[in-house]
């Protein structure tokens, strides 16, 4: 017994550091898997508060660019609204089309990373504003990512610049589906994999989200084809996609809430259980 005690006292620094190292190792492993990193994330009161203070200061430097961007988006939306009005005068009897199942919530990005292999954004809206896990996040120019963690006032977003992200997307012209991934090399280029060889690939073509998942509506802009590569098995393409978004300077984002998510999830779970 005494020898065990002596051993513990003699090696107390080693045991202490081993213990702390194992804790950090566990936290690291945990953060490698989506949805499990509950304890150490920047969506908490402490770091969220400091980040939003920093953002309050930084905001003044970009007011002009932000205004330009919002004006641009306003103009585009106004144009869409005009064309929508023309249609709606012809056919406004079907009330199901007037209620979109997607709700949009605006938020500000208070912290943004794009230089790591797993990039996370922090935004200043949280569960108080009905933000929940797995909601999609876009900006006025296109796709950004998916909500990963929420606290009362803040939330973190796993951006598409994250090796864990895999988002369904398709060619706008031919509707061929693939998955969007990121190879960590350039924060403005992502990869679209598993595009069938039949698909007509033209450099400069637009890529949009596929709408196969409940997270994003169909047709959110992603980017344009920059180059293509036929895989070794000669059956599918890997495309390099240049994003419309500049992922290195994000300010205002929209969070997409699909009102039908619960219903769809429940239905799918029931069918799974039935098998």
């Amino acid at each position: 017994m005494q020898q065990i005690l002596f051993f513990l006292i003699r090696n107390k620094n080693f045991l202490l550091s081993l213990f702390l190292f194992l804790i950090s190792f566990a936290l690291t492993i945990q953060s490698h898997s989506f949805h499990k990193n509950k304890f150490i994330n920047s969506a908490n009161f402490f770091s969220g508060g400091i980040y939003s203070f920093k953002n309050n200061v930084n905001n003044y430097f970009n007011l002009k660019e932000e205004n330009d961007l919002l004006l641009e988006e306003n103009a585009r939306l106004r144009m869409q609204l005009d064309s929508f009005d023309e249609f709606s005068t012809i056919d406004n009897t079907d009330s199901t089309f007037t209620h979109s199942k997607f709700q949009f919530e605006t938020a500000r990005v208070i912290n943004n990373t794009y230089s790591k292999s797993k990039n996370i954004l922090t935004i200043d809206k949280g569960s108080q504003m009905n933000i929940a896990l797995d909601m999609g996040v876009i900006s006025s120019k296109g796709l950004i990512g998916i909500i990963k963690n929420t606290s009362a006032k803040y939330a973190t977003v796993q951006s598409i610049l994250n090796i864990n992200s895999q988002i369904n997307a398709k060619l706008k012209n031919s509707n061929h589906f693939g998955s969007l991934i990121w190879n960590t090399e350039d924060p403005n280029i992502v990869q679209l994999i598993e595009i069938p060889r039949l698909a007509p690939i033209i450099v400069g073509d637009t890529i949009i989200t596929g709408g196969k998942s409940t997270i994003f509506p169909e047709g959110v802009l992603v980017g344009t084809i920059q180059s293509s590569l036929l895989n070794k098995d000669k059956n599918s393409y890997t495309l390099n996609i240049k994003l419309f978004n500049d992922m290195t300077s994000l300010k205002h984002v929209y969070i997409i809430n699909n009102k039908d998510t619960e219903e769809i999830k429940k239905l799918e779970k029931e069918s799974d259980d039935a098998e």
Binding site: F21, S24, F25, N37
Partner: protein, 169 residues
């Protein structure tokens, strides 16, 4: 006297965390290279101070950086490793009797200081990047990041030491 030391240590802890999180994490030189100045806290911790205390404080320091960077526990792990190995590296760079000669980091020779800072920084960075990337296919990326980020950090740490040290002559 003792409370004065604790005050300076906690002040340094907070300032280094804020500088790292708000300023240095946003540099992204050449796309992904950031200097990690905050380990200056571990480097300049009193050489004859309590070793267990240093290990616990380093863990907290790393964890705070992780909290802001959403990086799990990679900084905490790297900090614990260098805090534990610090006595060995001190002995290697300043000789066996560093503990009794009341050596301070700002009045040793430049070369000795560079060796000490260099080993600590590179050790920290290699643990940090290998845990962050965590993939044996990307060993080259780990080494490249360690080297470039390391040089950046060493320059920044050496200049901070000489700027903020009191004149000892």
């Amino acid at each position: 006297m003792q409370s004065n030391v604790y005050f300076i240590l906690s002040f340094r802890f907070i300032i280094l965390v804020l500088v790292q999180v708000l300023l240095l994490n946003n540099i992204n030189f050449l796309g992904y290279i950031n200097p990690y100045l905050y380990i200056l806290f571990i480097l300049t911790f009193p050489f004859n101070g309590n070793k267990s205390l240093l290990i616990v404080l380093s863990f907290l320091l790393g964890l705070t950086i992780d909290l802001f960077g959403d990086s799990g526990g990679v900084h905490a792990a790297a900090c614990v490793v260098i805090a534990y190995l610090r006595p060995v590296i001190l002995k290697f760079s300043f000789g066996v009797s560093y503990e009794y000669n009341s050596i301070k980091i700002n009045n040793v020779e430049f070369v000795q200081r560079l060796i000490y800072v260099g080993i600590m920084v590179l050790l920290h960075h290699i643990v940090l990047f290998s845990m962050e990337i965590f993939n044996t296919n990307h060993i080259i990326l780990v080494l490249k990041s360690t080297l470039i980020s390391g040089i950046f950090s060493i320059i920044l740490i050496m200049s901070s030491i000489s700027i903020f040290s009191k004149k000892s002559k």
